[in-house]
Amino acid sequence: MFGFITRRIAMALVVMFVVALISFLLFRFVGDPVNQMVGIETTPEQREALRQRLGLNDPVLTQFLRYVLGAIRFDFGNSYQFKQPVADLIGRRLPATLELSFASAVFALLLGVPMGVYTGLNRDAWLSKLLLSVSLAGISLPTFFIGILFIFFFSVTLQWLPSFGRGEVVTLGSFWDTGFLTISGLKAIILPAITLGLYQMTLIMRLIRAEMLEVMRTDHIRFARARGLPNRSVYYIHALKNTMVPVITITGLQLGSIIAFAIITETVFQWPGMGILFLHAVQNVDIPIMAAYLLLTAFIFVCINLIVDILYVVIDPRLRTERSRT
């Protein structure tokens, strides 16, 4: 168990190293940092001085080390577009993205799990068939188009919910702007959160359904039935528990893609988060922001994967013995 976790952590460190390298290469070699900082009338001597001051003449390895050490202290350099430190820009937008991701993950789990259990147990009921067909449609509709449809129905036609922004925000502590504490903030998060969570919800539902179908055929369920256990405890204690391993993997990995898909949702709803910042950076070739975003999301993904891997072992005792033996 301990060996397994150490190995996973080592693997995570390798991934982070590779990503940091890519991020650094991007930062350093795609486009000339000096060209982006100075005006046309800067003389070659001034450029050279700036180059020297930024340390761009040092050996690449030194620069890489400096970049990594900077990144650990959240120093990612200045944005080409905004001429501000990237860390500030991202820090200001991070709460918005995290709140949106959190709300949509909660939405996806709260609806997806019961729907999956229901459709898995009552596979021939009309409601199951309806849910399944709707979920297929949900997977086929691109996220951004679902968002547009929502805006069209709920904001433009019915005028129930706002179509952009995050409403009034309350600042907690020094930097965390939360929209959860005001009515307009809560109203503003509904549409983006559902848009973002819909795909994950259908995925969780289909996954749990498939797992339930599989588990219900196994011997230990038959045995539990034969022992005369009531249906409820067979379903929820013996069956659902055994579906959890794949569900946790997929949900964990999906948490990562929620953050990635937030780029789309944020664009549709003009949600002032990290995603929009990254998108504008891609459009305007603002490399420091791209590099920092890459590093940050990689870090989040790697952490999630690590937690998922560890949870695996905690939940499934079979894995514990197998893995520790190897």
Partner: protein
């Protein structure tokens, strides 16, 4: 298991060997295809949409790329059946006076082209790496699979965005029109190869130890010929399923990137670009500019997805047995 249709048909085939076409008409696959109404409908829709896209220049009432045919005076005309509509424009026009129906047909052409090309690219890359990884094994295998694992940590859309951004950073915005589609195809393809590689590697590991491969190796056939001629045909089954489902994903990814404004330039609008243009007019009540291309996209993707779902179930004998109570 005695009523299993597959055992019946295989025994028939073994009694009287027939041509490939004869076997196809007698196969499980066709039977399961025809017995599912949804699948037939999905296949029909897919074929119709693909033909419509392919022959867009012949079918479409206008050519949206021909500046002589469009007039800004015709901008934002609503579809037939609404007030102020124009009988020439069945689904209305967009903000530049381009006929929306023609725009959708031509847009679907670009969407499908990017979709097919990127799936082909991803499949070729993934299958080759998977074959090499599975057949050669050892350190090569470890390296390829580590790369795959690292890449799998990142969602495809993020990778495609990043690759697109980097490519634009390197090439600059010079001649963006000509580059854009190829960069797009490349970035989508590159973000989808992992699944092929992992699947092909898995089946290659199984095939590698079978007698026919060992026999081929014993008589001294070079490794690359064994891989391509002997192992490859036997590992392609699952690849077909992945490719179908990936086509839907690739189309969605293309549309998403174009919607985000980093994909196809608006001079050659794909479905995603059309939706992006329409999104700006949603609030002024001109809903058709965004909604119609969106529906076309959704129908196309849904049809392809349904086909992929059916194919996966039909080619998976384990699932077929499982369907029996």
């Amino acid at each position: 298991m005695t009523d299993n249709p597959s055992t019946v048909s295989t025994s028939e085939v073994s009694q009287a060997p027939r041509s490939a076409i004869g076997r196809f008409f007698d196969s499980d696959l066709l039977h399961s295809f025809l017995s599912s109404r949804v699948t037939v409908l999905a296949a029909f829709t897919t074929v119709v949409l693909m033909l419509a896209a392919l022959f867009a220049p012949l079918i479409a009432p206008f050519n949206p790329f021909d500046l002589a045919q469009i007039s800004i005076m015709d901008a934002r005309i609503p579809p037939i059946g609404m007030e102020w509509s124009d009988p020439r424009y069945l689904l209305g026009t967009d903000d530049q006076g381009r006929d929306l129906l023609s725009g959708i047909l031509y847009g679907m052409r670009i969407s499908l082209a990017v979709g097919f090309l990127s799936v082909a690219f991803a499949a070729v890359l993934g299958i080759s790496l998977g074959l090499i990884s599975g057949y050669v094994g050892g350190r090569t295998d470890a390296i390829i699979m580590r790369i795959a694992e690292v890449q799998l940590t990142f969602p495809a859309i993020l990778l495609a965005l990043l690759i697109d951004g980097i490519a634009n950073g390197i090439f600059g915005n010079i001649n963006r029109e000509t580059w854009a589609i190829w960069i797009l195809t490349f970035s989508i393809g590159l973000s989808f190869w992992v699944q092929y590689a992992r699947t092909v590697r898995g089946s290659t590991l199984v095939e590698k130890n079978k007698e026919y491969v060992q026999a081929a190796r014993v008589i001294g056939i070079p490794a690359w010929i064994i891989m391509i001629r002997h192992v490859l045909p036997n590992v392609l089954g699952p690849v077909l399923v992945i490719a179908t489902i990936n086509l839907a994903l690739a189309i969605i990814t293309e549309a998403t990137l174009s919607f985000l404004g980093v994909g196809v330039p608006s001079t050659q609008p794909s479905l995603g670009t059309l939706i992006r243009i329409g999104n700006d007019f949603l609030f002024s009540g001109e809903w058709w500019i965004a909604i119609f291309p969106g529906l076309a996209l959704a129908i196309l993707v849904l049809a392809v997805n349904l086909l992929g779902d059916w194919l996966r179930d039909a080619l998976n004998p384990k699932l077929r047995q499982g369907e029996r109570p």
